[in-house]
Amino acid sequence: MVRLITHNLLACHAKGCTSNNFPLKLQDVAIEVREAEFNPDFVRGFLPRLEWKALVQAARELGDTSLPEEMPEMVDDGFLKNLHHVLLEIHIDEGAMICPNCGHTYPISNGIPNMLLAEHEIG
């Protein structure tokens, strides 16, 4: 599956594409929400390493507006629950991810993103 936690880590790696290659833009996505066990310690631990703006933007593209524009200074349980939902419970089953820089398309099919490049696209 592709969840937003994974989307927050992925970047374009096509030949010559080394800047402005993150975050990949979500396109024509089909999503499914599935409950996952909430572990506040995990979410709190991962939080400092998130690319916050990219996550908020991707969540809004998927219709979830529960996260604030700026990462809050005070982290409470309600916030962590929202973040858990955005990171781990929204599954992208179908669609594509487009590089904002070079326009390369990475398709997602049956929940698996295809990050392979053709030989001439490998940097």
């Binding site: 936690i5 880590l9 970047a11 572990n39 631990g45 990050m115 490049l117 490998i122």
Partner: protein, 291 residues
């Protein structure tokens, strides 16, 4: 006689060679292969259990995803993404441990991540499927750049020439070991009747590196109507010391100091474990930043 490991020579463009002798094979044998790969190795389990809560990692060459559910004692404390070349294995990995997993179809030589995005990376029984020293070194570089420069931890396992005494395999002696290791084909026997019995090989023993489980006890195979197919997978079997050398070369090319934390270099990587376990060599690495 059971099919034997045979020496081979990489006689084609490495990418086409691996495509034919590694990727295509795993796609064909995926369900049967997966049914023989379920028990994690102790050193790998220990490594993953030692990671702090909130860490996120990459399993490069995840296969059927058997390491994705770890650590079993606190499964939601850390989170691992599986990467593999075989779409058919990923379909299995996607549900490893009966929990939905995030997996990515990609190449161990690709770098489809923000640099340093992960806290840790493991690559188990994968680098030995790359058919030139340069490509094996690049795979290590990709692991290094995937993890955090200040705290990233890495574990790599590859198959060794030096085999466990219990190993059923006879490794051909090759005169020319100038590149350090040995290039071989390892047969995988897939009989037609096994395809419907994919989950019956759970005999409770830890699985060792490449194993052709479908050969009968007496070495015979099943009857002729059910003639088994033999798939040869390419492996580079590592010589003693070769893996650490590869890591040192990869780190140097990235401008990293190799050794313990030192004020004399801004960035470095330390080999904290370098060992052999049950027919495999492994190294554990830690990245560090001195300032």
């Amino acid at each position: 006689m059971a099919p034997q490991v045979t020496a081979t020579v990489v006689d084609d463009d490495p990418q086409s060679y691996e495509s034919k002798h590694v990727h295509a094979v795993y796609d064909e044998i995926a369900p049967h292969f997966s049914s023989t790969r379920y028990k994690p190795w102790p050193i790998i389990s220990q490594f993953i259990s030692s990671l702090p809560v909130g860490w996120v990692g990459l399993d490069s060459g995840t296969g059927n995803g058997k390491y994705l559910p770890l650590p079993l004692e606190r499964p939601t404390d850390i989170w691992t993404i599986g990467l593999d070349r075989s779409r058919n294995l990923l379909t299995i990995a996607q549900n490893a441990g009966n929990v939905t997993r995030d997996v990515v179809w990609g190449d161990a030589l690709g770098q489809s991540w923000r640099e340093g995005a992960f806290d840790y990376a493991i690559s188990i029984a994968t680098v030995h499927h790359l058919s030139t020293p340069e490509r094996r070194k690049l795979a290590i570089q990709r692991l290094i750049t995937a993890v955090s420069p200040s705290r990233g931890r890495i574990l790599v396992y590859v198959w060794a020439i030096e085999q466990d005494e219990q190993s059923k395999r006879t490794i051909p002696q090759v005169a020319d070991q100038s590149n350090g290791g040995e290039d071989v084909f390892v047969p995988w026997v897939l009989s037609k009747n096994v395809q419907g019995k994919q989950n019956q090989n759970r005999n409770g023993k830890p699985d060792t590196a490449p194993q052709d489980t479908n050969v009968q006890e007496d070495g015979s195979t099943t009857d002729r109507a059910d003639a088994p197919r033999i798939y040869n997978r390419y492996y580079h079997m590592f010589a003693r010391g070769e893996l650490a050398e590869l890591v040192e070369g990869a780190a140097s090319m990235l401008g990293l100091h190799v050794g313990p934390l030192s004020p004399e270099a801004p960035l470095g990587i330390e080999i904290v474990q370098d060992g052999w376990e049950r027919s495999n060599y492994y190294v554990e690495l830690r990245r560090w930043k001195s300032s």
